[in-house]
Amino acid sequence: MIVLIGLNHKTASIAVREKIFAGCQEGNDLLARLRSINGVREVLYLSTCNRVEIIAGSDEHGKAIKELRDFLAQSGGLTAAEAADCFYEYYDEDAVRHIFRVASSLDSMVMGETQILGQVKEAYRQALEQYATGVVLNRLMHCSFRAAKRVRTETAIAVNPVSVSYAAVELAKKIFGSLDGKKILLIGAGEMAELTGTQLIEKGAQSIIVANRSLAQAELLAEKFHGEAVSLDALEAKLIEADIVISSTGAPDHIVTADMLRRIHHQRKNRLLFLIDIAVPRDIEPSASSQENVYLYNIDDLQDIADENMNARKKEAIKAEMIVDEEVARFVNWQKELESVPTIVSLRNKAEEIVKAEMDKAEGWMGNLKKEDQEKIDNLVNSIVNKVLHAPVSVLKEESSDISSRDIVAAVRRLFRLDG
């Protein structure tokens, strides 16, 4: 059984998400801790700017979901009132549909954005590294990647693939009119920063400065834009030159403070400054927005623009939802096949097919034998096959009442290539 618990930009404020994010990041053994929870057999932890979700394969879903909810609430230090409304829970088919929709970016703040799939893949990679996932979640994640790929290639939902930067460009145009000649400062050299930079350069921005804790990474990204790379020590000096600042680091504290902006106000000659903080926890001190000619937008503020995009993409989303439904049905079918009876049937069918194929091939020389001898050979072959299959079929039958049979079923299906 699959269970999913989480919170996102629709159910929890940025402050609550920050708390949960920070709580879960403490220590390096998050997945191990999650796996040690009673009733949780396999687990995957997904954290993005907009959501924190735990997907688990479980023997006892009621118990598992309660424990996972308590775990999240305690990690974030949430009050009972805060914890009451911010979580959503899904089971089995609904959980499958939810994760497929997340991976396909149908549940994202900006529908159709492309970053989320990378983040889901990264979450899966970490779970794999720590052996946190098993048969069911492995299959679930692969199916979710396939669903996401189909949605992207078969619909026009990702025509504007860079969601946050698209919203940022729209806002930048409202502030600057044209982006021609504008200087962009990217703080953080991650994928998000890169995508945003690409979009802004396409819209006419003049140059890009990349500031990052690791200068080597900054240089790599800056090279792509023919820009300048600096370390975070030079941030204040570079803020003087910048017109648009996009910050997306994983730093726990504010990187750009209100004091810093106040200090450079005169050196900037009062030029308009557009600050986009797409990091959670936030990189830019919120009080910076009270300063003259400074416009600060965090990830939540982009919600309104996201809503408009969502309307425009509604039509495509209908198609995408149909694709997701198809993929969910496929996954659910596979899950049903994980019950032992269908696998035993498949195994026998497969064996019979092999026997039939081989007997057909041997028909030439067997035709010369007496009918009596032919029957003897038939019986011999069937007897060997039955004896070979006896042990695996017995084990499948014996273990069928136990949840761990799924691993065995999956192994049999894989060993005998029953899924084609």
Binding site: L171, K173, K174, I175, F176, G177, S178, H266, K269, N270, R271, L272, S289, E292, N293, Y295, Y297, D301, D304, I305
Partner: protein
């Protein structure tokens, strides 16, 4: 006689078009449609054309430069603001600015319609080319200031919407902050020398004709104060680097001070400029 009739007809058409464009502009704000604002701009351009035709008739009909009547004065105010706005349209394409400026233009036109045609604006002793330059350049310069202030007010609104993250329809309609700041900058840059030349022409005339006493005229003091304020703003922009919100607030406030002073002087004081 025919010329006078044609002049009146042109004025009436211009007034009607002006009213139509103002309604169109305000409606465009209401329904949040830039297309409607664009259409209104064309109507305003037509109004400007008819107003220009009216002035051509006036020039042909009489020695207008020397002796315009009160209606011409207000019409000239409307024409100047209209001209400055339309020129700016070529440079910045900020149609919605019209929603803020066209009501001013309409007010000038209504004031002009309310004035009795043929009443001499200036007394006989003030009718010469120096006062004509003084009047014309000052009016056009003030039109620039008016538009600088309108842009400033729009900047304040847009700034507020962006700061409060109200990203609904209105924000899409208003020009970008940078464009509004640029309009404010251009208008101050062009308006200030025009008003300066207008004032100098007035000073030269006053010195020649009246010699003493004119400096303590309340309207002159207020106008001079306004000129100093705008000069200060221009200085702050060019030398100190004031930009954006602060410029918007100060230029808006400066224009309100100028309007209040004009109103209060006209109502409460006796002035050498009692003809306007």
């Amino acid at each position: 006689m025919i010329l006078t009739d044609l002049e009146l007809l042109s004025f009436k058409i211009a007034l009607t078009l002006c009213a139509a464009s103002t309604v169109g502009y305000l409606f465009s704000l209401l329904v949040k449609q830039v297309k409607l604002a664009k259409f209104s701009t064309w109507i305003l351009a037509a109004a400007f054309g008819f107003l220009t035709v009216k002035f051509l008739f006036v020039i042909i009909n009489s020695s207008w430069f020397i002796n315009p009547d009160s209606r011409d004065f207000f019409s000239l105010c409307a024409w100047s603001v209209c001209a400055v706005y339309l020129v700016l349209q070529f440079k910045t394409k900020t149609r919605v600015l019209g929603a803020f400026i066209s009501p001013f233009i309409l007010l000038f036109m209504i004031a002009a319609a309310g004035e009795e045609a043929g009443r001499a604006l200036r007394p006989q002793n003030l009718q010469n080319w120096l006062t004509a330059v003084h009047l014309l350049w000052t009016i056009i310069g003030e039109a620039f200031f008016a538009i600088a202030s309108c842009a400033g007010i729009m900047f304040i609104i847009q700034n507020r919407l962006l700061k409060n993250k109200k990203l609904g329809g209105m924000i899409r309609l208003l020009p970008s902050l940078n464009d509004l700041d640029r309009i404010n900058h251009l208008c101050l840059l062009w308006g200030f020398p025009l008003v300066s030349v207008g004032i100098i022409a007035g000073v030269v005339f006053a010195q020649i004709s009246w010699k003493t006493g004119w400096l303590i005229d309340p309207k002159i003091i207020w106008t001079f104060a306004g000129w100093i304020i705008y000069g200060f703003l221009l200085h702050q922009r060019l030398a100190i680097g004031w930009k954006g919100y602060r410029m918007a607030v100060f230029s808006g406030a400066a224009f309100i001070i100028l309007l209040l002073s004009y109103g209060s002087v006209r109502l409460c004081f006796s002035t050498l400029h009692n003809f306007i």
